[in-house]
């Protein structure tokens, strides 16, 4: 694939932002055992008119480089031929429109797609071709984005993902206040469980929802709270799937397993 490392000015955030993108492209042909190259794959490959788009979010301790450095995301995506992976930096924002005025949610779900679709015209603008996913804080972010801005995404893949409303902010109260404000978050716009329930009652579009974590994830209980909230929505409007990856924790290995599953599921739709 082709790696593109963007620095893009965001008017909403009033700052330069880092975004990496993996897009379909030519790759070296494997060498024969005798050292000779096979015919090179040429630019005729991957001439799909549009690419499906995975918006892939990093975790709390991470940045736009996380997925590329810690998982084989490129080789996973490459095998499908017409999938682009966008890796934005969320700068510790949990991907939300924060109470302090940094509108990362709006930037990630509205402004950035609009900018990138003009830079890379092959990125599909169809809702069903755009999926948001992430692990840990990025998993929460994908829930927040997918259920706050459901018109932007056809699917959500939230992994290692609990709800900020259930999180323990001991020793990081200042960060909590900067991002989400004071007090109980269960009645705030940041409560993922409530977002899921509210969307279920509305006429707005409903994304496909895949969710899960490792069996050894220290925050497995928080994932299961969110699971239970989703399961309480009548009619299963999200075609919900919850998975537990046995033997895996809150780790890069679980990131890989989860994203491999999500991409395969969505590409085979």
């Amino acid at each position: 694939m082709v790696l593109m490392q963007f620095q893009i000015h965001s008017k909403i955030l009033q700052m330069e932002t880092d975004v990496w993108a993996l897009i379909p492209g030519t790759k070296p042909a494997p060498r024969r055992p005798n050292g000779q190259n096979q015919e090179r794959t040429g630019p005729e490959e991957n001439q799909e008119e549009t690419w499906k788009v995975l918006w892939l979010l990093h975790g709390g301790v991470g940045d736009h480089t996380f997925w590329l450095r810690h998982t084989p995301i490129e080789s996973i995506a490459e095998s499908y031929g017409n999938l682009a992976v966008i890796l934005p930096d969320a700068y510790g924002s949990s991907c939300v429109d924060t109470v302090s005025g940094a509108r990362f949610g709006t930037y990630l779900s509205q402004e950035l797609p609009g900018i990138l679709r003009r830079i890379l015209p092959k990125l599909s603008d169809k809702r069903e071709d755009n999926w948001v996913s992430g692990f840990s804080n990025g998993g929460y972010g994908s829930l927040y984005l997918g259920f706050t801005f459901p018109e932007s995404y056809g699917a959500v893949g939230a992994f290692g993902a609990g709800d900020k409303a259930d999180a323990d902010f001991t020793n990081i109260e200042a960060e909590k206040e900067r991002l989400f404000g004071k007090g109980d978050l269960h009645s705030s716009p940041y409560c993922a469980s409530q977002l899921v329930k509210d969307l279920g009652k509305s006429d707005r579009p409903k994304p496909i929802l895949c969710h899960g974590c490792g069996s050894e994830d220290p925050w497995r209980d928080m994932n299961e709270i969110v699971r239970d909230a989703i399961l309480s929505v009548p009619g299963d409007p999200y075609h919900y799937e919850f998975r537990i990856w046995e033997g895996l924790g809150h780790s890069s290995a679980c990131c890989e397993a989860a994203i491999r599953y999500f991409i395969q599921k969505m590409m085979e739709q």
Partner: protein, 203 residues
């Protein structure tokens, strides 16, 4: 102005290359933009032009894409060792860029400007670009043979006595310097290229 560094496998040179691009902030849907390719000199990299001249106003005011590819020590011409840097510059680079980005697909929408060794490749890039320009270009590759150029010029271009036969002619170029400072010369050449682009209807 926005920027992107692209790392892509390029079949004509058998390796992954870096291409730095600058482009306007507010791109319009369904519009394709002119392309100016800037080629670096020997011993330098794709950042040379941006370090030496101010490009932001050009990109934002004139609404053009500027691409600065990595050229290693190739002079951006096809090499006797098999790497086809000339084909990359004239064919593959424009095709890749207009395939990814909203860049004009026709030759008339493209210009190339090179410094030093990059000037040699730029002046020869008639196939791919309607406009060619150079700053202090290497006009005779034979000049590289007695220097500390690495890889060895013979490995890249063949024996010195066979340069013309191997397809590396001596170029004629009239330098119209108004300054002895390379930075100022590069800025002047850029302004000249911008003017010529205007004459071609780029903006």
């Amino acid at each position: 102005m926005n920027r992107v560094n692209v790392q892509s496998y390029v079949p004509s040179v058998h390796t992954y290359l870096g291409i730095q691009l600058l482009f306007p902030e507010d791109l319009e849907y369904d519009r394709r933009y002119p392309l100016l390719v800037l080629l670096h000199g020997r011993g330098k990299g794709r950042g040379q032009w941006e370090h030496m001249v101010y490009l932001e106003d050009l990109v934002d005011e004139k609404k053009i894409f500027v691409a600065m590819p990595q050229g290693n020590q190739s002079a951006f011409v096809n090499l006797m060792s098999g790497e086809r840097w000339g084909d990359f510059l004239n064919r593959e680079l424009p095709d890749l860029l207009s395939g990814w980005f909203p860049i004009r697909t026709e030759r008339e929408g493209r210009g190339v400007l090179g410094v030093d060794m990059g000037g040699y490749g730029a002046l020869r890039a008639v196939e791919g670009y309607a406009l060619q320009g150079a700053v202090c270009p290497v006009c005779d590759l034979a000049d590289l043979y007695e220097t500390d150029y690495h890889p060895y010029p013979k490995a890249l271009f063949g024996p010195k006595e066979d340069l013309a036969r191997n397809g590396y002619p001596v170029l004629s170029w009239e330098e119209t310097k108004t300054s002895s400072c390379l930075r100022e010369q590069m800025q002047e050449a850029l302004q000249d290229m911008v003017k010529r682009g205007g004459e071609l209807g780029w903006y």
